[in-house]
């Protein structure tokens, strides 16, 4: 399963709920405002690091750059471009958007 999150963790509980329900070996991609969750030093960092042992976490590069967060991404979070996002969607049998 590829989980897709697009809301800031500081405004919505979508990421928290997603991480609580993502099973071992699944993948999570942070896009749009959800990329703020992948920024070092934020309150969401601990939660995300905890999840990194269990699930793969990706963040969409163009959205990180658009928000001025380039180079501030938490270690272990893999930054992908649009092509990488498409590959992830193709690699996983199913996907789920956490609106």
């Amino acid at each position: 399963m590829l989980h897709i999150v697009n809301k800031s963790p500081y405004e919505r509980t979508a990421l928290a709920s997603c991480l609580a329900h993502a099973t071992k070996g699944s993948a999570v991609i942070l896009i749009e405002d959800a990329v703020y969750a992948a920024v070092k030093g934020g309150a969401a960092e601990a939660e995300l690091k905890l999840a990194l042992g269990r699930v793969e976490v990706y963040a969409l590069g163009p959205d990180i750059e658009a928000r001025g967060m380039k180079g501030r991404v938490i270690e272990g979070v893999k930054v992908v471009d649009y092509g990488g996002f498409v590959d992830l969607a193709a690699e996983h049998r199913t996907n789920q958007s956490w609106l």
Binding site: T13, H21, T23, Q96, W98
Partner: protein
């Protein structure tokens, strides 16, 4: 659809009229009247039922409020669609899953819900999500 040879379950993948039956889960995470998500999800659920798909509904986070008994929307002048959940059975949609943690966090109990549901842990619900062919967040 009638069962063939007394066999139960979704093993008959090929229907003579409609082709493949997929497992669809609608994951409802939003309260009913503040946004249009819940009502729109219900519309799509009913459409999917018309195509004889294997449909289940999950309710978690604020989505559990959709099933609260006693909703009266007259004061806010919008449609009260909560009775529609009781009609789902008539469309052979009987898999309604509610996350226990979400209910408890909101002080709700199973008997305060408008329809019979299966209450389960988040862990169990996550397993059910993994079993699906299509998961639609709403």
């Amino acid at each position: 659809m009638s069962e063939q040879g007394g066999e139960k379950g979704g093993m008959d993948l090929e229907e003579e009229t409609s082709g493949v039956v997929k497992k669809f889960m609608f994951v409802n995470r939003k309260a009913p009247h503040g946004t249009i998500y819940a009502l729109e999800a219900l519309e799509v659920v009913l459409i999917s039922a018309a195509f004889d798909q294997d449909v289940s509904l999950a309710f978690l986070d604020d989505g559990v409020y959709q099933l609260a008994k006693g909703q009266d929307t007259k004061p806010i002048e919008v449609k009260n669609f909560s009775p529609t959940y009781r009609a789902l059975e008539g469309y052979d949609i009987e898999k309604l899953y509610v996350e226990r943690e979400s209910l408890e966090a909101r002080g709700l109990t199973e008997d305060q819900l408008i329809v019979p549901v299966e209450v389960m842990s988040g862990e169990e619900l996550a397993r059910r999500m993994e079993e699906q062919d299509v998961v639609i967040g709403c």
